[in-house]
């Protein structure tokens, strides 16, 4: 189906009306057949998304409050024998999900601090201070971006077991997870880019007022960087919450383990209903954070695509 050729003047006006547009133009949208077709497509897409993306999560929430027998024998039935809210309290208290939840929070907090400190200070050096050796630091950071993480796994583990400068083993300590988390080249790259785009006039003005590099960093650069710090923070917390292999290797003491490490080992010794409740609790925090900070998330993901492109 072809549309009639649009006069150049109208095309220019349209372009001005919507600076960014998609394949279907406004003109086409006004035509009923196009509109209905696309509306139906979008409706189907929406239904599909709901079933595919939310479906499993809804099931999880349902299982969390269903008695174990029902989960095992009729998982898709709607509460044939009522709900089992005590799954949640059993998970929180008896299985000590509360403790592992707190461990996850502690891990996320420390990792966040480590990442923010390393990323902002490194970006400050690379973007604002720019000493002569900055390009070596930059190259060193970028090299790690291109090395697949598999290479790091075993030797990093041995470094943790026997760290050169530190002396004592970092195994079974939270430092063993926090410190390596700081070495994120991706963070350094996006914060450096952000700093690069900050207006230099403000820095000059501050310097005129006698600000040294530390004042400049603390009172000028950081406050202006809230958007990028938001992105880094959100990703740091979520990445830490999801992290599995590294905490598995470093934290052997079950009392220190976060949810992601502990949940699989609970499988064999826990009632299915209670396990589901524990899984639901573990999902809650990231999902809630996502729903609140959606914009930051999605813009950060887009950024990620831009960096890799």
């Amino acid at each position: 189906m072809t549309s009639a050729p649009v006069p150049a003047r109208t095309a220019r006006r349209r372009a001005a009306e919507r600076a960014t547009r998609s394949a279907v133009s406004d003109v086409e949208w006004r035509r009923p057949r196009v509109r209905t077709f696309w509306r139906n497509v979008h409706l189907a897409l929406l239904v599909l998304l709901v079933v595919w993306c939310i479906g499993p999560l809804l099931l999880l929430m349902k299982f969390a409050v269903t008695p174990t027998q029902d989960i095992l024998s009729t998982p898709l039935a709607v509460f044939p024998h009522g709900m089992a809210w005590d799954n949640l309290s059993a998970a929180w208290n008896d299985v000590h999900v509360s403790r592992y939840f707190i461990n996850s929070v502690i891990l996320a907090g420390g990792s966040w601090v480590a990442q923010i400190v390393v990323a902002t200070s490194a970006a400050y050096v690379l973007s604002v201070l720019r000493p002569a050796w900055a390009k070596y630091l930059n190259a060193g950071v970028l090299v790690t971006l291109f090395v697949p993480s598999v290479v790091l796994l075993v030797p990093l583990y041995l470094v943790i077991v026997n760290p050169p400068l530190i002396g004592t083993s970092l195994v079974d300590t939270y430092w063993g997870v926090w410190l390596p988390a700081g070495a994120s080249a991706f963070n350094v790259v996006i914060v450096t880019r952000f700093f690069d785009n900050l207006p230099r006039e403000v820095f000059e003005a501050a310097r005129v007022d006698g600000a040294g590099p530390f004042r400049l960093f603390w009172s000028v650069v950081l406050p202006m960087s809230k958007p990028i710090l938001g992105v880094v923070s959100v990703f740091a917390v979520i990445a830490s919450w999801k992290d599995f292999l590294w905490p598995l290797l470093v934290l052997h003491n079950p009392n220190l383990q976060p949810l992601s490490v502990r949940l699989p080992s609970l499988q064999a010794t826990t009632d299915m209903g209670v396990l589901m409740a524990a899984l639901a609790i573990a999902t809650l925090l990231p999902v809630v954070m996502f729903l609140i900070f959606q914009k930051t998330f999605l813009s950060g993901v887009g950024l990620g695509g831009a960096v890799k492109g």
Binding site: V161, S169, H252
Partner: protein
């Protein structure tokens, strides 16, 4: 990338950094024993305590025992640490120095750790104990080095593999729960009857990880075969293709594809099979004879649940695979620490087997927490000693011993076979995928799989 030259420089820098550091790190943690006059000076040791997440009552009990010990030896301070031996974490803990002074290892690891010089030489201290020569031969073999010296002490949980069964399901299927099967053919027959009559799978087999290889080895041992032979010159030969192994795999295959009476999931590990059993999803399985304790701890079994225990069926001169736990001392311990450590080992692990007062105190605490008291374990010392110590605690025994006679009647007379001495875990690792194959693939060729595994197994033994 702006400058590939800078990248190249960076990579060179990184590499040289790594080289320098790696070369300098060769030493790692060497063994350092300083000799100090033992006995009088104050010494503090950390010891393996309870599993993480243990009940508060048990923690209090341990603390009470610690107080008693410190009263007896005023110059020693004992600090218990939560402890759990895991295959994936032990080596790193050992190297990272985060193990307590006194720690526990499975019997199978004893030999290699001693050979690698990773356990302290405690020969002098152990020989000073009055019962140093009364250890049961079978349990002490892996605690001594090639030089005959003690590097570890048999401590607890000595078991032989046995057959666990659900008495209720037997009754429901019309079988006599007091007459559990005594041959593998009978096991197969009973499993089929149970599945046909009740719909519940009659048998289950571990296959998830090395535990699957462990159980296959146990089954092979019970059929008169072994998966490894020690040669006269000290080397080892892999015999994974022993006919007994193949026979048992064919037996599993028949249960799976002809009778459909075996739990079809190839992902049951040690804990998962306990869970399935406790949940009434399978009627029989083999595992260590002391598993009842874990069933009580994790599946909340009680004495009237319907648990039954009998000896593993044997044929062709086969026996039961046995294992246990040793206590060892960190290689970096000083002489004073080693003295204190062995005294603790004597007090905590062994005194309850030899001293009535200690035995009763220990039993009382477990009984009070609803934990299992009296689960049949193999004696670390002599059979008479075991019988005596069981007599001391008979008022506290809360396990259904009358339903375990199938095992307890035979546990001393049956032949005991040790786990493979060399590359034990690696051997198990070669075996369990074959169990998985048999359970998941109707056309699995047992002989080919075993032949391939055996070649690999031999290569491993030749390497080490």
């Amino acid at each position: 990338m702006r400058s590939s030259r800078n990248t190249a420089l960076a990579m060179a820098g990184v590499l040289s950094l790594g080289l320098l550091a790696a070369c300098g790190q060769g030493g790692g943690q060497g063994a350092a024993t300083t000799s100090a006059a033992p006995g009088d000076e104050k010494v503090t040791i950390t010891v393996a305590g309870l599993l993480p997440g243990a009940e508060q009552d048990a923690v209090d009990a341990l603390d009470k025992r610690v107080t008693e010990f410190e009263a007896k030896y005023p110059n020693i301070t004992v600090e218990p640490q939560e402890y759990q031996w895991l295959a994936t974490t032990f080596a790193a803990n050992l190297a990272g120095g985060t193990l307590p002074t006194v720690f526990e290892i499975p019997v199978t690891d004893g030999k290699t750790l001693i050979e690698n010089g990773q356990l302290a030489d405690i020969d002098a201290q152990v020989k000073a104990l009055p019962y140093a020569d009364q250890f049961n031969d079978a349990v002490v073999a892996n605690a001594k080095g090639a030089d005959g010296k003690f590097y570890a002490v048999p401590a607890k949980s000595f078991y032989s593999v046995a057959l666990h069964y659900n008495r209720n399901l037997f009754t429901q299927a019309g079988l006599d729960p007091d007459k559990p099967p005594t041959t593998w053919d009978e096991v197969r027959k009973d499993a089929k009857i149970i599945h046909d009559k009740t719909g519940v799978y009659g048998y289950g087999m571990m296959a998830l990880d090395n535990a699957g290889g462990w159980q296959l080895t146990a089954a092979a041992n019970s059929r008169g075969g072994v998966v490894q032979k020690t040669n006269a010159d000290g080397t080892y030969t892999a015999t994974l293709d022993d006919p007994a192994v193949a026979k048992h795999l064919e037996w599993l295959k028949a249960l799976r594809w002809e009778d459909n009476s075996i739990y079809p999931d190839g992902t049951l590990g040690w804990a998962e099979i306990n869970q399935a059993f406790g949940g009434g999803q399978l009627a029989m399985y083999t595992s260590g004879s002391d598993v009842y304790t874990a069933l009580v701890q994790n599946q909340a079994l009680t004495a009237d649940w319907g648990y039954g225990l009998t000896a593993i069926p044997t044929e062709n001169g086969g026996g039961a695979l046995g294992g246990g736990t040793l206590a060892a001392v960190k290689v970096q311990a000083t002489d004073a620490e080693k003295d204190a450590a062995v005294k603790w080992i004597d007090f905590w692990y062994l005194s309850k087997l030899l001293d009535e007062g200690q035995a009763v105190a220990d039993a009382k605490i477990n009984f009070g927490n609803g934990q299992a008291v009296g689960t049949p374990v193999l004696p670390i010392f002599s059979q008479e000693q075991w019988t005596t110590s069981m007599g001391w605690i008979k008022d506290y025994v809360n396990v259904p011993l009358k339903d375990m006679t199938g095992y307890t009647d035979k546990m001393f007379s049956q032949k005991l076979i040790g786990e493979p001495s060399a590359s034990t875990q690696d051997t198990y690792a070669l075996l369990f995928p074959i169990v998985q194959a048999v359970l998941s693939d109707q056309n699995a060729n047992v002989d080919t799989l075993l032949a391939a595994a055996n070649t690999q197994g031999q290569a491993l033994l030749d390497q080490s």
